[in-house]
């Protein structure tokens, strides 16, 4: 009992931090999301009547498109990031010497410190409609003014962050892998590819899922990437939230869409975790 009490006491500071910095602000957002907005004012006025209109206005197909666009682009960026990052992480963890591994990890961590705006403008100056590759793109017949091209550039922008973070996350998972299991599979007749697909990847599934979730989280919450690389023609949910809070001061609507996004993200994490657990068991 005494041991339990001391544990509880030790938990108190962390619980207090969560309560004050996460639960309380979140509660404020939830409460604001049910208030009626008066045009021309900033946020809901004191004592504004309660309403669910802030939620129902996002029920239309147009906003489903915005949610779809945000999650689909973030999903593709995360999948591509995992596909690129896994072999690199495997090489760093298994094949690189200790000194080379250090260099790789330092470079990847260094890359994380590079300003997001620098990366975004680097992409814009390279792949933008007047970027250095524009003459080549025009020559090969790429429509740089098209929505498909802009979406691809946004995915490239998301990959700039997703790839290094995925590599760093997966290095840990691969390092913990027991090499004897792969060797055992091969000694029982499995080819290198078969042992990789049936032993290595399933055993790294938790690391892969973690990297995927971190990339997805970054992708769906991206703000500057769609803002600049999307040329204002592609809007992520984060851009709409910013517009509601900062440009038109409609806090209730901004709060409602934030809560919808939070619920969707929690749902996504739950589903992916269940899938990962399923693979882990099998």
């Amino acid at each position: 009992m005494r041991h339990f009490k001391s544990q509880l006491l030790l938990l108190l500071p962390a619980a207090a931090v969560y309560l004050f910095f996460l639960v309380l602000p979140l509660w404020t957002v939830i409460a604001e999301s049910f208030r009626t907005f008066t045009p021309g004012r900033i946020g809901a006025v004191a004592g504004a009547p309660l309403t669910v209109k802030n939620y129902t206005e996002f029920a239309g197909p147009v906003y489903a498109t915005y949610f779809g666009q945000t999650y689909v682009l973030a999903f593709f960026a995360s999948v591509i990031a995992i596909i690129i990052a896994f072999p690199v992480a495997y090489y760093i963890a298994k094949n690189a010497s200790a000194s080379v591994r250090k260099i790789w990890i330092s470079a990847l961590v260094g890359l994380m410190f590079l300003s997001a705006l620098v990366r975004i403008y680097a992409i814009e100056l390279t792949f933008g409609s007047v970027g250095i590759l524009a003459p080549f793109m025009s020559f090969v017949g790429v429509n740089m003014n098209g929505t498909a091209y802009i979406n691809i550039i946004i995915i490239v922008g998301l990959l700039h962050y997703a790839i290094p973070i995925s590599i760093l996350i997966m290095i840990g998972a691969i390092l913990n892998l027991n090499p004897r299991l792969t060797e055992a599979a091969q000694s029982l007749g499995a080819s290198a590819i078969e042992s990789h697909l049936s032993v290595t990847i399933p055993l790294c599934i938790k690391g892969i899922v973690s990297a995927f979730l971190v990339s997805m989280t970054f992708g769906v919450s991206a703000f500057a990437i769609p803002w600049i690389l999307g040329r204002g023609r592609v809007q992520f949910i984060s851009n709409i939230i910013y517009s509601r809070f900062s440009e038109v001061s409609n806090y209730p609507s901004g709060a409602a869409i934030s809560i919808i996004m939070l619920v969707l993200s929690l749902l996504m994490i739950f589903i992916i975790s269940r899938i990962a657990t399923f693979f882990d068991r099998t």
Partner: protein, 362 residues
């Protein structure tokens, strides 16, 4: 000669410490002599000009904060911090003042507090519900359509030309929260509507979005200038500051004003920019600094730097701002001053309509 010993080291450390304390005290004394206020200012030339002019007086030190995005973006931050926003002076324009007046944030402006206000036209002053003046104008800003002649494939003569297929991806169209959507008011006026009847404008913008001519939707003025200077787009609607900046950088810009609005649709919109002193801060020092900055000489100097028209009637207009300067007859013919109070209440509805009807077509 310095001999390395424990005593000498301690003596030196004590001397350095004493000197440091002395310097710090001197700095504190200096700081106490001048009051410090916090001012929210626009970036670029606006900030550089204001910083240089504020440095010409020594009574008040300024802690500068720059606007990020449109002028409305700072308002929610003030609301969140109210009644202690940590801001003494806010820079903004007509629409901001409508919101500030409704929220009751402004310290009333009087001639006693700002004697130079006597040289500012009364028409530019915005009042709250109680009849108190909330703003101190410093600049008359003009908003109009403009384009880069060297990257536009033909001479634009009317608003309908924006639908020309030769302008594929060449238009930088401001989002409704930018310029308070007067770009769409200009389209509405051309097609028989006005700011209170925007249907014709929405129909026109739908056609424009479908045409593929909108290459970028500007979320901030910097998007517009970056897009035009890089050559990504050629045609836009923006303020005289952007026009002056691009002209100074030798971009071949053409201003679409002084053209018959009935046949071309090109109208110039006028608004006033200036300051508002927020309640609860260092109001006396704020009014003192502002009074200095809107004196005829300073107002002239500031507007010369940013290429705009001074609000002070005793200040001369620079050559660069003259293309935007209309006489009474021209004002009646080519200019339009919308109902800013009405417009300030439409941001939310217009932005939602943009998201629902225009954005999916881009």
């Amino acid at each position: 000669m310095f001999t390395m010993s424990r005593r000498n080291l301690l003596k030196s450390a004590a001397s350095v410490g004493a000197a440091g304390v002395g310097l710090s005290l001197a700095r504190i004394a200096g700081a106490r002599a001048a009051e410090t206020i916090t001012v929210v200012e626009w970036g670029g030339d606006y900030f550089e000009a204001m910083k240089a002019m504020a440095a010409e007086q020594s009574d008040i030190n300024v802690n500068w904060i720059l606007h990020t995005g449109g002028s409305a973006a700072i308002l929610p931050k003030i609301k969140a911090m109210w009644p202690h926003p940590g801001i003494d002076v806010l820079t903004g324009w007509d629409v901001s003042w409508q919101t500030v007046a409704r929220e009751g944030w402004a310290e009333p402006v009087t001639l006693e507090k700002v004697p130079n206000l006597a040289d500012i036209p009364q028409k530019l002053l915005v009042k709250d519900g109680a009849g108190n003046i909330v703003n101190i104008p410093r600049t008359i800003t003009a908003l109009s359509w403009m384009y880069r002649e060297d990257t536009t494939p033909f001479e634009i003569a009317k608003l309908d030309d924006l639908l020309d297929p030769r302008l594929k991806g060449k238009i930088c169209f401001p989002i409704p929260t930018l310029n308070q959507n007067v770009q769409m008011v200009s389209l509405a006026l051309y097609k028989g509507g006005d700011e209170k009847n925007m249907e014709p404008a929405w129909e026109f913008v739908k056609k424009l979005a479908r045409s593929g001519n909108i290459g970028r939707v500007a979320n901030a003025d910097v998007d517009t200038s970056n897009s035009l200077t890089s050559g990504e787009t050629s045609v836009t609607f923006n303020n005289n500051g952007t026009f002056t900046e691009l002209t100074r950088r030798n971009f071949k810009m053409r201003l679409l004003n002084r053209m018959d609005p009935m046949t071309t649709g090109f109208r110039t919109f006028y608004l006033q920019e200036g300051w508002c002193v927020l309640k609860g801060g260092n109001t006396d020092a704020s009014f003192k600094l502002i009074n200095f900055l809107i004196s005829p000489a300073k107002n002239e100097q500031y507007n010369r730097i940013i290429g705009a028209m001074p609000a002070n009637i005793k200040a001369a207009v620079s050559d660069e701002a003259k293309p935007f300067m209309f006489n009474n007859d021209e004002m009646n013919k080519y200019a339009y001053v919308p109902d800013w109070s009405y417009i300030s209440e439409q941001s939310d509805a217009w932005m939602k309509r943009w998201e629902q009807e225009i954005q999916p077509l881009l």
